[in-house]
């Protein structure tokens, strides 16, 4: 898992550590995926994004199971976000993270370029 804060003035409003927050986000995404596939009127469906009154969370999942999650402000359109996440996967992740033979699967990605 890899996390970066896009906003400089990030205030911690809860006492959760970063690791706990990761677990919470992951658990939430897993439940969201399951919820969406069950409630959907179509036979196969997958979750793309949700928004609250303050932020928008988008997710892009690859067929190999890697999920890219991004929190943005509300004015981004979902097409733009989807494109960005897809490009992020294609250009950056595949090139540098996957093809790096020194990178083990469990440790978080430290590469600066990433």
């Amino acid at each position: 898992m890899f996390c970066t804060t896009g906003n400089g003035k990030d205030q911690k409003r809860t006492e959760m550590s970063q690791e706990e927050e990761f677990k919470l986000v992951y658990g939430m995404l897993y439940s969201l995926k399951s919820f969406v596939s069950r409630i959907s009127p179509a036979t196969s469906d997958s979750f793309q994004s949700y928004q609250t009154n303050n932020y928008k969370l988008s997710m892009y999942e690859t067929p190999s199971g890697v999920k890219f999650v991004m929190n943005t402000s509300l004015d981004w359109t979902s097409n733009m976000i989807k494109e960005i996440l897809h490009d992020l996967y294609k250009e950056v992740y595949v090139e540098y993270a996957v093809r790096n033979p020194l990178l083990s699967l469990q440790e978080s990605i430290d590469s600066e370029l990433f």
Partner: protein
């Protein structure tokens, strides 16, 4: 469909406006159907096997073009029996996404209640409401929470 959830997260009202879009229909002439069915969740689901576009997750919504009622086919015979009985062939089965069972609706409603709360907690901004709008490939789900804590959500 519309769902209303009370302050504690329990479903108090739901209304279904969707109707089944028929997705796959197939006629079999002889007995062994190359799909494995399971009938324990209140509808007959394809558990295993893939055939002409029908995949696991699809459920039987019509037998011989007559719509089914839960796991019972026309004439109140269990669908699984009809499928396993060689005398009922040639047999036409229609597959689609089955209707959401009442029990499942309760589960989904309380799931959503918790997801709504978590969404407001993990917000990178200081205070945030829960999920107002959720978007997937096929539908959009909107939610509105009143100041008393009652949630109204519907998919479109």
């Amino acid at each position: 469909s519309v769902y209303i959830i009370n302050k504690a997260g329990g479903l108090i009202y739901d209304e279904d406006f969707t109707f089944n879009k028929i997705t796959e229909e197939h006629t079999w002439q002889e007995h062994p159907v190359p799909l494995v069915f399971t009938a324990d969740t209140g509808k007959v689901l394809v558990k295993f096997g893939e055939f002409a576009g029908v995949k696991p997750g699809y459920s039987v919504i019509a037998v011989n073009r007559q719509s089914v009622n839960g796991t019972m086919g026309p004439g109140d015979k269990p669908i699984v029996d009809i499928i396993n009985n060689p005398e009922s062939y040639p047999l036409t089965l229609t597959f689609g996404k089955g209707k959401v069972v009442a029990n499942e609706k309760l589960m989904l409603a309380s799931m959503f209640h918790s997801l709504y709360a978590i969404a407001s907690k993990i917000s990178p901004v200081e205070s945030s409401s829960g999920i107002k709008e959720l978007q997937t490939d096929e539908f959009v789900l909107n939610c509105f929470q009143t100041i008393t804590g009652v949630k109204f959500f519907c998919d479109s």
